[in-house]
Amino acid sequence: MTRDPALGGRWALLLVALVLAWPLLVLAEFKPWTLLDERSLRATGRFLADFFPPRADAEFLALLARETWRTVAIATAGLTLALAIAVPAALLATARLSVSTLEGRPGPARWLRRAVRAVLVVLRSIPELVWALVFVRVVGLGPTAGVLAIAIAYGGMLGKVYAEILESADPAPTQALLRGGGGRLQALLFGSLPSCAPELLSYTVYRWECAVRSSVVLGFVGAGGLGQQLDNAAKMFAGAEVSAILLVFIALVMASDAFSRWLRGRLA
């Protein structure tokens, strides 16, 4: 009676994990000790020594300020369009508001849910960089491609995560309402939103930060913004400029982090 019935399963699981980990480590050529050989340490040291002091003349700073705003603007515009995709998709995709699932007998609506989920998978399984590559070829270089790429890839991501947040919340209040015969939107507003709203909001703000980072990366394929500057600086091995741009990024993301905390504080 006091023998742990789960113990065997746990050992088996551990074994399976180890057996799976081995080929993965080999395939990823995971040999971190190569980082410590003398030649790579020297190269690293040279590169890092270049980082200080970061470049900070007025002209460069003005350029950075302009590009920073462009980066933020691309992210904001892209995320706004993404919301237009994500919100309706999430409401369609979540099983939490489904009365049939509540009863343990999925109804026909689950096919709709699956279809919506499949579309979301397609939207986000292609990285925004690839979307951008495609759009750059179509609309030419510039922010339009970046905005569209973010809108599409993030629409898919947000839609999925919104649905999941709604589902991971304590189901009791929502189900009590549905069970009591409440409508879906009512159940959402009264049951799920009070507990999910902070998480939904903070996730959205978090995604906006991600969009800022993405729009940086999109700069690498010509969508403008800080990324393009970073690409230039890195290709020149201009350590002082790289470090200045990195500092700007970090400041940008920390600012949006503070913004998110403040916003959540207001909601609570």
């Binding site: 509540l102 209040p173 069970r179 015969g181 409508g183 159940a187 507003l189 009264f190 049951g191």
Partner: protein, 268 residues
């Protein structure tokens, strides 16, 4: 009004049946107490009556038809007529008492009015009247998570009082209440149910209150109904059997097992 015919059921979230061959008929406006040892299946029985899950076997009829044979939307409509106050009140933290109570009226509420209720409940006097009958009127605008245990429980019961359901189910409504408030709550439930013609089913551990207040008592033992009738029919022997340890091999109360051994090594 609602009738179970040799129904089996699993606990909510479980798979194995814990109720076996339940036969139970409930007329409109009837008042029943369900008693039985911890783990006997009282909560599971109420979840069946609340249409939270279908019976694994057997029949369930509501007004002569099987709700589980109907369409989902039809069943959802039927649920609006049934209100359940679970063992642990499912109240979203941070919500105010007034809103939490009025959420019970959502099934019949328009979307516009639901939104108004979130903003500032127009039906607050109704909630107030219900809370008054339970002795917690002064907490109307308090946040739900700032209540004492007994206050929370009474807020959960106030939901029944304001609902316009025809079948009220209360799972151990008195667990967290002192004797006076228990009497008060039971009186309020019975009186309001009678005035509104709603049927009332309460699961109770307080056998004395069950026998004193209810014209009909159902006793469960290990998932089966062992008694169903007026309280007069319950005698000491039956109570003994009801609450005797169900696991026959376990020692009876008398020879208590040795005190828990605490080897020195474990103590520090």
């Amino acid at each position: 009004m609602i009738r179970l015919g040799s129904a089996d059921a699993a606990a909510l979230g479980g798979a194995a049946p814990v109720l076996h061959g339940i036969d139970l008929a409930l007329a409109a406006g009837e008042q029943i107490a369900v008693i039985g040892a911890s783990g006997a299946g009282k909560t599971t029985l109420l979840s069946l009556l609340a249409l939270m899950q279908a019976p694994l076997a057997g029949r369930l009829e509501l007004d002569g038809t099987d709700p589980w044979a109907q369409s989902r939307s039809e069943r959802q409509r039927l649920r609006a007529g049934i209100a359940l106050a679970p063992q642990q009140p499912p109240l979203p933290p941070r919500q105010r008492v007034a809103v939490a109570v009025l959420a019970a009226r959502l099934p019949g509420m328009s979307l516009a009015r639901s939104l108004r209720t979130l903003w500032s409940p127009p039906d607050a006097p109704l909630a107030q009247a219900a809370l008054e009958q339970l002795g917690v009127a002064d907490k109307l605008w308090q946040r739900v998570d700032r209540l004492s245990g007994g206050e929370r429980q009474r807020v959960g019961l106030a939901r029944l009082l304001v609902s316009d359901a025809r079948l009220w189910l209360a799972d151990e409504p008195l667990a967290a209440l002192d004797p006076a408030r228990a009497e008060m709550a039971l009186t309020a439930l019975r009186r309001n149910a009678a005035e509104r013609g709603a049927a009332l089913v309460c699961s109770l551990h307080q056998v004395d209150l069950a026998l004193k207040h209810f014209p009909r008592v159902v006793a469960l033992r290990a998932g089966r109904i062992v008694f169903d009738g007026p309280p007069g029919g319950i005698d000491e022997d039956l109570l003994d059997e009801l609450y005797r340890s169900q696991d026959e091999s376990a020692p009876e109360l008398a020879p208590l097992p040795q005190p828990v051994p605490l080897p020195q090594a474990m103590c520090r």
